[in-house]
Symmetry: C2
Subunit: 163 residues, 2 copies
Amino acid sequence: MTETTPARRGGRQLPTAEELRIWRNFIETTAALSARLESRLQGDSSLSTGDYAVLLALSEAPDQAMRSSALAAHIGWERSRLSHHLRRMERRGLIRRQECPTVPRGAEVLLTAAGAEAFGTATFPHLRAIRELFVDALTPEQIVAAGEIAAALRARLDEQYED
Amino acid sequence: MTETTPARRGGRQLPTAEELRIWRNFIETTAALSARLESRLQGDSSLSTGDYAVLLALSEAPDQAMRSSALAAHIGWERSRLSHHLRRMERRGLIRRQECPTVPRGAEVLLTAAGAEAFGTATFPHLRAIRELFVDALTPEQIVAAGEIAAALRARLDEQYED
DNA sequence: ACCTACCGGTTGACGTGTCAATGATGCTAA
DNA sequence: TTAGCATCATTGACACGTCAACCGGTAGGT
């Protein structure tokens, strides 16, 4: 690895120059990758990755409908974020909202025909883009390593619960 | 690796379920990592990573000053993005802008004392956070692998030049 | 019954990012 | 000279995200 400072990893408080270089390349490249995927999806289907996540969840839901909070939990968003996003999607005709018959204060989110159609159009090119930009860019060993790295980073994030 | 479909990597058009799982973990975890860094920096110094990037570049510049477009190129931002960001930073007193004496339409961006101080306060905790959340979360081998993965992804992004 | 506390969802304010359009000013070629 | 034309920077419109405040209603404790 040819580090600036040898062995004693527990001692240093700050990253070495080499570690910092790798860090920057890593975080900037993953951000750029996200952005490229976003723009590919946008070009292929006029959907954002947020739209896609919502439509995917609704497509797989029974009756193509979900309670707002269940949807938020399913895709891991804050309720407020989802509410803003649904407003924009409703304006574009991708989903509809209606009072939930069973739960008093609940709001049901429904997939519209236009939403289902947009999702159908988007899916194949989106998966192909993931393949081109991620899967095919790496060796099988690197894909495994990427999975392990993600798991290790996630574990660290979770262990320092919300700061 | 135990893939759903064996060997013939060139043949498939779509990722396997396992590849998709790794992809999702990878891209979501790196996004969460960025977000955590952002929030740590915010808490430690009331700066965003965007602020930090600008202040870092100015700190290292001769006379703590740079032309706007040079700054944009240095940190890899669009000029429009930088212009918006500088407006907000100027409002907070972190930087100043003035007409450039040499270049006709050029705008000089200057680091203020407040900006330099904020940057100084932010640096150590920020680097420590990078160490905690990235460097220390991975084995030395994983850090090397992360660097190689980033390089491979970057190469693929660059080769498909801007879509 | 009444006060309170929570719950589901929305809203507003604001920071951030992209895109397209707009000045303002020099450079170049008819 | 003047009609383009590229360049530097800003602006406006809009999408997206977070945070905190809010609102209507249900549930618990006294």
